[in-house]
């Protein structure tokens, strides 16, 4: 036994895999996600919108998925493929930890996501199942381990982001602001305390929504906030709507 859940899965796929053909329907897309370092760890954020062409399919989509106690995946692209990848990774990490009696290393987790993206090549080339995720993770057993941000291209290449990463149709505006503030901000996002980082993330998504119709579902005036999770040495903390509302109301106007 080598603890490889994908190898186990390939022995007995359920349901049986069938050959894929181009879908005649407009593919669903999930946008926009991003992550940045803040004073308390890594803040990873997503809006709630999923679109199919010019149709808003949902404004309640959860795009930040917890894979284990110290791993998060933010999805942008085809939700069907992305959710399946997240489910496969989640089971793979747990299967490895239980069967091998030790947690999977961070490098192996990053490689596992690369493999899934690479295996998705046919759908990517057809343009119906493109996924460009962001991964935030850390190795809690490493004494000097700190949360890190990684981003991928749809073919599976992995890159570590020194300060921030963004993906999805609205990420262009967000990355521009993040770049500007990292360079000239006082404080830069990496030094922002939690309440400031939370408000900043919501404002970034509202900014992106101004220029991208596929970004949405974040309207603090209507009590709609982003999906926000903080990764630190202590693990993952979901920033609940109540906390986001409180930080929003306490923020200087």
């Amino acid at each position: 036994m080598n603890g490889d859940f994908l190898a186990l899965l390939s022995r007995s796929p359920f349901p049986p895999e069938s050959s894929r053909s181009p879908a005649p329907v407009e593919p669903l897309q999930a946008t926009t996600v991003f992550a940045f370092h803040c004073a308390d760890g890594v803040m990873i954020a997503g809006d709630h919108r999923a679109t199919a062409g010019n149709i808003i399919f949902s404004d309640k989509t959860e795009k930040i998925l917890e894979l284990d106690s110290h791993s998060l995946m933010a999805i942008a692209g085809a939700p069907a493929t992305a959710f399946e990848m997240a489910r496969t990774l989640k089971t793979s990490f747990e299967y490895y930890r239980r069967s091998q009696l030790q947690p999977m290393s961070l490098s192996a987790k990053l490689r596992a996501l690369s493999r899934l993206l690479h295996n998705n090549l046919p759908a990517t080339l057809q343009g119906i199942g493109v996924v460009a995720p962001i991964f935030a993770g850390m190795d809690p057993s490493a004494p000097d381990g700190r949360p890190a941000i990684y981003f991928y291209d749809p073919l599976g290449a992995e890159f570590e982001a020194a300060t921030y990463a963004g993906s999805g149709s609205g990420s262009g505006s967000i990355k521009s602001v993040l770049h500007y503030l990292e360079k000239w901000g006082k404080p830069p996002p990496a030094q922002m305390p939690l309440p400031e980082a939370v408000n900043f993330a919501n404002r970034l998504l509202m900014t992106a929504a101004e220029f991208d119709t596929a970004t949405g579902g974040v309207q603090p005036d209507r009590q709609q906030f982003a999906t926000l999770k903080l990764l630190s040495r202590d693990g993952i903390r979901s920033i609940e709507t109540g906390d986001q509302r409180q930080y929003w109301e306490e923020a200087p106007r």
Partner: protein, 241 residues
């Protein structure tokens, strides 16, 4: 030769005797349904005897370490495939034991030309309430018995195993804290491995600071714990009251 019925029966009888002989040096493991969750205790010679299987499931066993590992891997594979293909809530101990593990153990036992699986085990599932807890005592030949919200002991001698289980049920009260439950398990362990009559066991004292040359393991399938994963290894030092 073994095609003849009576030869086959003889071969199975010999095999059963052989396995029991091989298991003689094994030390008991315990699982108890408690208000906090399902508490598991094992004492070994260095190797692990208590394991996590899935979100709400655990396994404790005695026997040949390689065979324990085979059963453990089979249980983990079956649980994860089921949880992935359907949902984590569809992974139930009853289905796991009835359809995956028990038939495998029975087949292994009856394949008289291949090495047997020498494992005596307990599988546990924690529920939202104590009434929903499920313990299963699984024998090397695939026989199994369900214990709902009770106590399960796995040992090499069926008679003393039953006596130890009855004693634990009798001496432990509903509101006993885990250190007392732990101490009771170690008292029963001492009686079982040293052939002391269980009926003459002393009242439960705080657990001693370890057993020479042995490794004590304890774990809790914690029903109070948030999230999906309920298994929590416990440091024996924290259970010494």
């Amino acid at each position: 030769m073994t095609e003849e019925p009576y030869r086959w029966l003889e071969a199975i009888g010999n095999r059963r005797e052989y396995i029991r002989e091989q298991l003689k040096g094994g030390t008991p493991v315990f699982a108890l349904s408690r208000p906090e969750g399902v508490f598991l205790v094992g004492v070994g010679h260095g190797q692990s005897k208590v394991f996590e299987i899935y979100d709400r499931h655990a396994f404790a066993a005695l026997g040949h370490p390689v065979d324990i590992e085979k059963v453990r891997q089979a249980a983990i594979e079956a649980a994860h495939m089921e949880g992935f293909n359907r949902s984590p809530g569809d992974v139930t101990l009853r289905r796991l034991v009835n359809f995956a593990l028990s038939p495998t153990l029975k087949n292994s036992f009856e394949q008289i030309f291949s090495p047997p699986l020498m494992v005596e085990s307990i599988f546990a599932e924690v529920g939202e309430t104590r009434k929903e807890d499920l313990l299963v005592r699984v024998h090397f030949d695939g026989h199994h018995r369900y214990e709902r919200a009770g106590v399960a002991v796995a040992h090499v001698k069926p008679e003393t195993e039953a006596q130890a289980r009855d004693w634990l049920e009798r001496v432990l009260r509903e509101d006993d804290p885990l250190p007392r439950v732990f101490a009771a398990c170690l008292t029963a362990y001492d009686a079982l491995v040293n052939d002391k009559p269980v009926s003459e066991l002393e009242p439960v004292e705080p657990a001693a600071d370890g057993i020479p040359d042995k490794t004590i393991e304890a774990a809790l399938l914690d029903r109070r714990q948030g999230g999906n994963v309920r298994y929590r290894p416990l440091e024996p030092g924290t259970l010494r009251g």
